[in-house]
């Protein structure tokens, strides 16, 4: 899917027409306005032009999931928006123009037991032994070195000039909606950017369970997606090294009876080694991640 602004406009116009014709009789009284509640991932924020590019979910019966630029009328609608943020908003489609309003960042707040426990334990950790804050969008990522599935030492700095997406998992994870889903997202991204993998884009999957996740085990795990060992590195290391890297990205992990309560985080690092986007949780799609990666590749 292209994110070209021109094409986006075209889609918006098409959408306006489609929306206008699809409106139910009750709404036809106000022929020129339709409103749709939408949700999506922010890819790019352009405050001077009062636009935001969003990879949005499907609006059933109206439009499929796609990437589109949206205008806002008030620039403050864009406050607090950063790439990777999941937002909800209303799309107002007028006769000649459209805009979005009521933009709200949806914080990841799962009430599933495992993320909830991780969140609770993080609060306790902060009380007993406060840890450094995670990097935020725009900050430089300090270099780190870990070991990949082929026992090669891998440093973040070797990918300077390329876009890097990074996520965090452990292979003994028993809940596929978390680690497996995230790793599978990378599998989809790998397929989508087949031509650019390694050349322009690298994927890093870091385990927070170095005691069990040896390079051999990671290689086996990677095999599920036929991961290209050069462009998709599965990384492990010493407990201290892994902990430091997880800390940079705000990934918490708490061993619990052979399982691990953990937070869930995916980040995209730009060509200059800065955090371009950081996504908490598992409530986004591989397509959105791909769109985000593409947006960062285009910078």
């Amino acid at each position: 899917m292209t994110t070209g602004r021109a094409r986006g406009r075209w889609i918006a116009v098409a959408l306006g027409l489609a929306a206008a014709t699809a409106i139910r009789p009750a709404a036809q009284k106000v022929l020129d306005v339709a409103s749709h509640d939408m949700r999506g991932m922010v890819l790019k924020v352009d405050a001077p032009h009062r636009t935001v590019v969003v990879s949005h979910d499907a609006v059933p019966g109206v439009m499929p999931a796609m990437t589109m630029p949206f205008d806002v009328r008030e620039v403050r609608e864009l406050d607090g928006l950063v790439p990777g943020a999941i937002v909800s908003f209303s799309l107002v489609v007028g006769k000649d123009s459209s805009h979005i309003e009521h933009v709200r960042v949806i914080r990841y707040q799962s009430v599933e037991q495992d993320p909830l426990t991780a969140r609770r334990l993080r609060m306790l950790q902060q009380m007993t032994n406060p840890t450094a804050k995670a990097l935020v969008v725009g900050q430089d990522v300090p270099d780190f070195t870990l070991t990949d599935q082929r026992h090669m030492r891998v440093s973040l700095s070797q990918f300077t000039g390329k876009v890097v997406a990074i996520n965090f998992i452990y292979t003994s994870c028993v809940l596929p909606q978390f680690c497996y889903r995230l790793a599978n997202h990378f599998g989809v991204v790998q397929k989508r950017f087949k031509e650019r993998m390694g050349r322009d884009l690298a994927l890093l999957t870091v385990t927070f369970d170095p005691a069990r996740d040896t390079p051999e085990r990671l290689a086996e795990y990677a095999g599920q997606w036929s991961a290209d060992p050069v462009s998709w590195r599965f990384l492990t290391g010493s407990v201290a090294d892994v902990r430091r890297v997880c800390g940079l990205f705000g990934v918490d992990s708490f061993p619990d009876e052979g399982l691990i309560n953990h937070s869930t985080r995916t980040a995209v690092i730009d060509r200059r080694g800065r955090i371009a986007a950081s996504i908490e949780g598992n409530e986004y799609t591989a397509a959105q991640l791909g769109d985000l990666v593409e947006a960062v590749l285009r910078r």
Binding site: R119, R120, M123, L124, Q125, M127, Y180, P255, D256, G258
Partner: protein, 864 residues
Amino acid sequence: MMRFVRYRRWGLVVAVLSLAAVSRVFSQRQTPAAQADTIAFRIIVVESEDAARRLLERLMNGENFVAVAKTESVDPSATNAGLVGPMPVADLRPQIRSVLERLRVGELSEIVRLPTGFGILKIVPDSETTNNTASSSNSNSVMTSFTSALAGTGSVKYVYDLSGYAETVLSLRQVTLSAEDGRNLATLCRVRKQLLTSTQTLVKDALASVSATSPMAPIDRAQTYVMQGQLHSFRGDMASAIASLEQARQIAVARVPDLRLQLDEALGIAHLHKAEMDNGVYQHPDDRCLLSGTPGHPFAKTADLARAIQYFSRYLAERPDDFEVRWLLNLSHMFAGTYPNGVPRAQLIPPGAFASGEDVGRFNDVAARAGLNSVSLSGGLIVDDFDGDGRLDIVTSSIDSCAPLRFFHRNDDGTFSDRASQAGLSDQLGGLNILQTDYNNDGHLDILVLRGGWETAQRKSLLRNNGDGTFTDVTAASGLATVMTGTQAAVWTDIDNDGWLDLFVGNENGPAQLFHNKRDGTFEDIAGKAAVDRRGFNKGVAAADYDNDGWPDLYVSNLGGSNFLYRNNHDGTFTELARGSGVPGPGQGFPTWFFDYDNDGLEDLFVGSFVTSVDEVARDYLHVPRSGNTLKLYRNLGDGSFQDTTRQAGLDKVLMVMGANFGDIDNDGFLDIYLGTGNPSYASLVGSRLLHNKGGQTFVDVTASSGTGDLHKGHGVAFADLDQDGDEEIVFEVGGATPGDAHALRLFENPGHGNDWIALKLVGVKTNRAAIGARIAVTVEGARGRRLIHRTVNSGGSFGASPLLQHIGLGAGARAVDVEIWWPTSNTRQRFSNVGKNQFIEITEFAQTTKALSRAQLPLGARR
């Protein structure tokens, strides 16, 4: 014919039937897919329901499934045009199973919700699966715990954890101790106590500051109260825990509605636990602790049970298909005396679900009468004769870093007395597991204490038996103190057949250790050289000569991932062969052992799975499809490989097994199994199980009829004839991970059954003195004709140590009992004909004759 193949795309291990069986499935159109053993299908997964709907339309309009799968599916099977299987239907996610059930070959399924998106499936004709099977069957099986979006294991509902254990472990892990302090058990105890107090204070302070106008998000405010509730639960202060959880619930009701249901569940569990504590079932366990499905003795105080029932009922009104809460509701009614009639029909787990398949007699708990007044947390257990007086003593340990070893010396009467301090054992604090050995071949049994399991790296203790009723801590001098690890798994075995016992230790947080016995009281870790240092979360280790080549091999049970089978190369090195030999384990392995369950002279293998789900256990009882990894029984085929006979043997059960062991409860010559269960959560009340081995074929659940189904947290298990009347009692260390879950030790006395027996004490001369690894073959003429019974000298399973003295059931009317012993170090055999039955006999390596041991019956319980 079963065989293992690897399904290429997933790395999932699947035991599949051969193609012939698959064809049979497809030729019988009427066979619902879920009843067939294996199935192959194609699947397309897309990321939104909307996209799936549009896709389904395209497919219905004739678009090619294979082409669409290749281009649009986000499942890894896309590279294989969406083809999955053939694989066991039972291994699939329930949503997929139920869709396949109604689907015929070639039809498109409805849309299925999956962790990665929304799927559309199509069963494929067997002609399309040929390539897949052919290409995958070349490689050997792979068992991993990798949870794909399609596998059933990914849909298990894990138990709600109310115990405060996660909070405590987090606190413990944040302390960095110096190596010296780490080795000092008293320091560990002190630090731990301080930590728990300071954590309580911190949370209290945090709450004091949030109750004002703090900017904390409502969910986090609620969670801070949950945290406080957890910490109160840890100590067993359930009234305070309930108060905190109620605060959390109020916030949820007002501000985070999605959180409320979970807090109803938590409050139900808290009230249930409070009811149990207030009614004294932890301190004074009796029939009220037993899962039997019959109205037992109801609790006297029932107010908290009524509250628990309220919360569980409210929960079930919104989520009627939650089997964990349904289970807890039924339990609450059992405790209240209102089961089964008081349980709403829709939520009833009928009494019949608990009925035993047969009756092996009723066991009674005589622990209190025998003076075994041990109320403790989870821990290890050894039953053996430590003072050489011919009577079996009992040693227990506790995960509590401040709790000393207990050494229950067997008195002349039917009682035991704790002699830990006289024996010099009272400064041995903590220890999740303990084992006996005779590492210095002096004829006195020594003790190994394993610490740090589930928690942090700690020291082990090797306690040398001085032969005068005392022990000396020789850990440092022996070289076992070099590296501290978190462990609860070890096995003593003579890996190089030099007559001295070596020690293999499985660790949770680092490579395993293989301590080679240097015959001078010291050990050297040769795990790296020996190639037995693969990493895994080791929860059980076992040793046996599974290939009958005269050298002991090793097995490691891992929580998460494949197990390891290390074949002894006879040169100090080992080769790992688990997958190729067909013993990858359940993926969530815990206790394990080798035993010859079918008496064919080959060591078979048992692995308990630790799936911490009450939901799954309840489903098992109700015969509702479930998804967790089952226990594993592997039958040794004698050619270096094993066959998975779990299902045929009736062991395809999902349980949270911890302590476990085997013995022969009815002296029929076949080894039975007792499984302790649970995890730290106070909701994990699923009951221990006694499984009777029927002729080496199947295991029949006799839990209810035997009265051995204690609901509480089962750790060390030993089978031992404590009253020397010719049948084995079950000694059972019960207690959870937290002070609020401490429980009394249980001693289930065998009611007897009239079958014959023989008990053999083996003494090695060239072979290690304790005779560990010696093989026994008993030939007996009896009611069922002539047969062979095989045993190997060891202490049994990996969590709980039975006596090294081998108690062997001979069945009814045994005649002409012949005994053959094979000694590993000397590689010699002794044969004794017409050995008298129903007696204790000592056999020394190279001796020409056996020696009868005088062992009078010693009834258990205080003399009246």
